[in-house]
Each structure stands twice: as structure tokens, then as C-alpha cells.
Amino acid sequence: MLTLDVTLRGDWDDVERVRSSVWNCVTAALGPFDVRDAFAMVVAELLENAVKHGSSNDCGPPRLRLSIDPLRGVVTVRNVVVSDRCAERVLRSLEWLRGFPTSEEAYMARLLALAECPDEGGSGLGLARVAYEGGCTLSADYDGGVLSVTAVMDLGPSPATARG
């Protein structure tokens, strides 16, 4: 129903350009439902992470792939990271999220943790938000210096029913 495959330059301003483009594309494909906000947010949060922690050299600009069919949407952001530590932080964040019974509890725990340590870099709040607000299941793969983060959003029988 909708497929996007975009390789970005890695500039921060491109995140908003792509976010608003995704919002418009999802609106055109599915209609003016809340799910368009969710897809736009998921894309923006994953791209922000990629631009912040990824390599912007010629071999590693972030690549976004988005596909939406009647049953689910899949967002994957792939980028070369500047260090193993960046990828390990993402993998740890996802493991941490999986330790909670619900994504809402994980998100709230992240909010409270940030209140305790506001200067914490790479806070993981964006990933927690993707899981909670976007209703997504997250997974990641790290191989050869390339990190791929995938968010899967179940849409149910039709996108309209996913508007909540």
C-alpha cells in the first residue's frame, strides 16, 4: 500500500523534512487518521538517533525504509555508527524495554529516570516513546559496524481501526 526507501545525507534538518513527508504520504495513502502521527513520530525518533549517533561519511548515511500494508507498518533505519558503544547502548535500551510488562510502564520508568539524571546522554526515551506512543515492537541488529533498528506497528484489520 505504501513503500518508501530513502537514503539521507545525514543532516539534522533532513529529519523534519522526512518526518513531514511521511506524515503527508501516510495521509495520502491511508487517510487523516492518528496513525499518520504515529508513523511520523516513529520515523523521526529513529532518524534522530541515527543522525546523532551515526557516521555521516559517504559510506554510512542513514537509510530509511518504510512499508505499510493493511495489517502492519514496518519502519527500519539503518546506519553506520561511530562506535560499538553507540550500538551497544541501543541494544541495551531495547533489552531494558523488554523487561517491562507494558510499554507504558517502560516509558514512565524512563521519564522518572530522566528526572533523576537529566543530563544523561543517549537517554533511550526516543525508543521508549516509539514502543509506547507508537505502539511498536522494536528490534535491532548490529553487524559490521552497521546498526539496523526496526519498529513494527500492528494495524489490525484496517488502518482506521488503529487510530485509537
Binding site: R19, D34, A44, E48, L111, A115
Partner: protein, 129 residues
Amino acid sequence: MESLKAGDLVIEVLQALPPEPLRLVWRGKSNERNPSILLAPFFARSIEEASQRGVAIEMHFEALDHFNSSTITALIQLIQDARRRGIGLVIVYDASVKWQRLSFEALRVFSKGDGLLELRARAAAEPAA
């Protein structure tokens, strides 16, 4: 106190005589890489202004299209700072918009018995206070 205009974001300051709160109306999008650089000094001025007037701060997000998680981090800091100064903070959002409902309802985790943080849901059709 002047409104904040930065990139895609405008926070309009609406000042009225006490006991009316200091109203801050968010419009557009908060998508800066490090929004705290802009927001933290603005929030500090807002807290100072509210303290001098002896009023609460009322932040309206109904007209905001999008904010990133770094903005949420800045808001958490505002909630903490306002509470430390004993300043009431009211957050008004559009409950008919799913992302706003989810984002702002989660902030109830910072509500305590002191009544200094109020989360106020408003449907889009309701007139502003």
C-alpha cells in the same frame, strides 16, 4: 517577558493581571537537536516571572503539531524546577489527538500530592479558558 521563536517553534507568552496564570502557548514543531539550549533559559525566565507575580504557569500544547523526545526531556526539567520553586504548573493538551493524549497523560507519573502539577485534557472544540 517575550515570546520564544526558534526554528519551527513558537511559544507565545500571554500575560494577564494576577491571579491569572502566566500562559505559554506552543505552536508549530519542536524538533531542534538540543531543544534544552533554547528552552531551559526560557523556562527559567518563565518561572522567575511567575514567582514574581505569584501566579501559576499554564502551558498550552493544543496547537503543537509535533515535539521530539528531547523536548520531553526539557519539559521534565521544567516540571522539576517549577516544583522546587513552589510554582504551580498546568499542562493543557488536546485529548482528541492521540499522540498528545499519550504523551501528556504519561506525565502524570510526576503528579504528587502537592497539587503543583495539573494535567488538563481539553477537546479541540472547547474554548480556551
